[in-house]
Symmetry: C2
Subunit: 216 residues, 2 copies
Amino acid sequence: MSKILSPNQLRRMPRYLHALKEMKGDNLLYVNCQTLASRLGLNKEQVRKDIATISSLDGIPNKGRDINILIKDIENILGLKNINNAILVGAGSLGKALLGYKGFLNYGLNIVAAFDNDPKVIGQVINGIKVYDIKDIKKIKDDLNALIGIITTPLKEAEQVAKILEDIGIEAIWNFAPTIIDVNKDIIVANIDMASNLATLSHKLYLKHKKDNKGE
Amino acid sequence: MSKILSPNQLRRMPRYLHALKEMKGDNLLYVNCQTLASRLGLNKEQVRKDIATISSLDGIPNKGRDINILIKDIENILGLKNINNAILVGAGSLGKALLGYKGFLNYGLNIVAAFDNDPKVIGQVINGIKVYDIKDIKKIKDDLNALIGIITTPLKEAEQVAKILEDIGIEAIWNFAPTIIDVNKDIIVANIDMASNLATLSHKLYLKHKKDNKGE
């Protein structure tokens, strides 16, 4: 069973999963699309369509859909049943913040090792994850069977690190550095740019204050 | 001087800023658009157009543009000359990770206090930032003159926290909870959804493995 989801549908799946797990935690057994939609601030018809696309079982009239089965369906679709091991490169401030975050495991990402080139950082253990010398990355990646590489280096090192990850046979890269990395097309890349997101917010706040000041 | 930037141009500004600051750190004084473009993996013509839009001074032939002036121009455009104080609500795993990250100050965001409703967390100090009882949010927000609220609560509390931030007069919300929050239109909202980003990556990896297995 291989459902085709649009990129927008795919983006909503973790939200459904998150909400359904919270409901399960509240000892609920069934949910209808209306409830799910209002909990997530989404359009009801959109939710109905999304859930119909991924559900392996129909809902029960006046009860809704089985929450446990929906969770399994979404985990299946997202490929979360198999936890993927990941290595992180760049144990600076952002890297350490991510190493300290325990939530990624809920989305199938298990960070098993970190790497840096700074002797002051190498050897540190953060949240149980050891920082190794970048020189040893190939061996440790193979030993730990890591498929995903996370880049949290400064911008000027990101391109070089992407190249290293490509060379050692990483299958997917999650890039937090504010640049578009250029690797072999077979490697899956997702970019997340917190700085750009924050800048958009700051800029709007700046324009608002400017307008408010003019109005006075 | 108030330049109008498209959303895409705006999103690229923090990348330019980041690259320019790194170059400044390397003691460079001038840069041309070609160098900037290849450093960031962007199209040269696009960079030329972006930089022309925001520059207050023309470049010098065979030398390029003054890096210090470009940095000031972009900081101006992004409203980063005035650091904005922010409060964070939800000092769980993600909240703590963000409190521990020192990079936000480079983008004009200064987290001055955190809030939670868990007695075990209230009173903790993370990276010099104290976690207060959510009950005291109004007074502390006013005392510290915070304009931005960061939401890092679980999904089911995000909506309620957004309402609190609205009530106490927060001007902008940076939302890390995987839901669209519904507040007064005067409040600026930026959403960042790490889980969706990660899920896209996991899903692609899952499809790739499925395809590879079929091929065998």
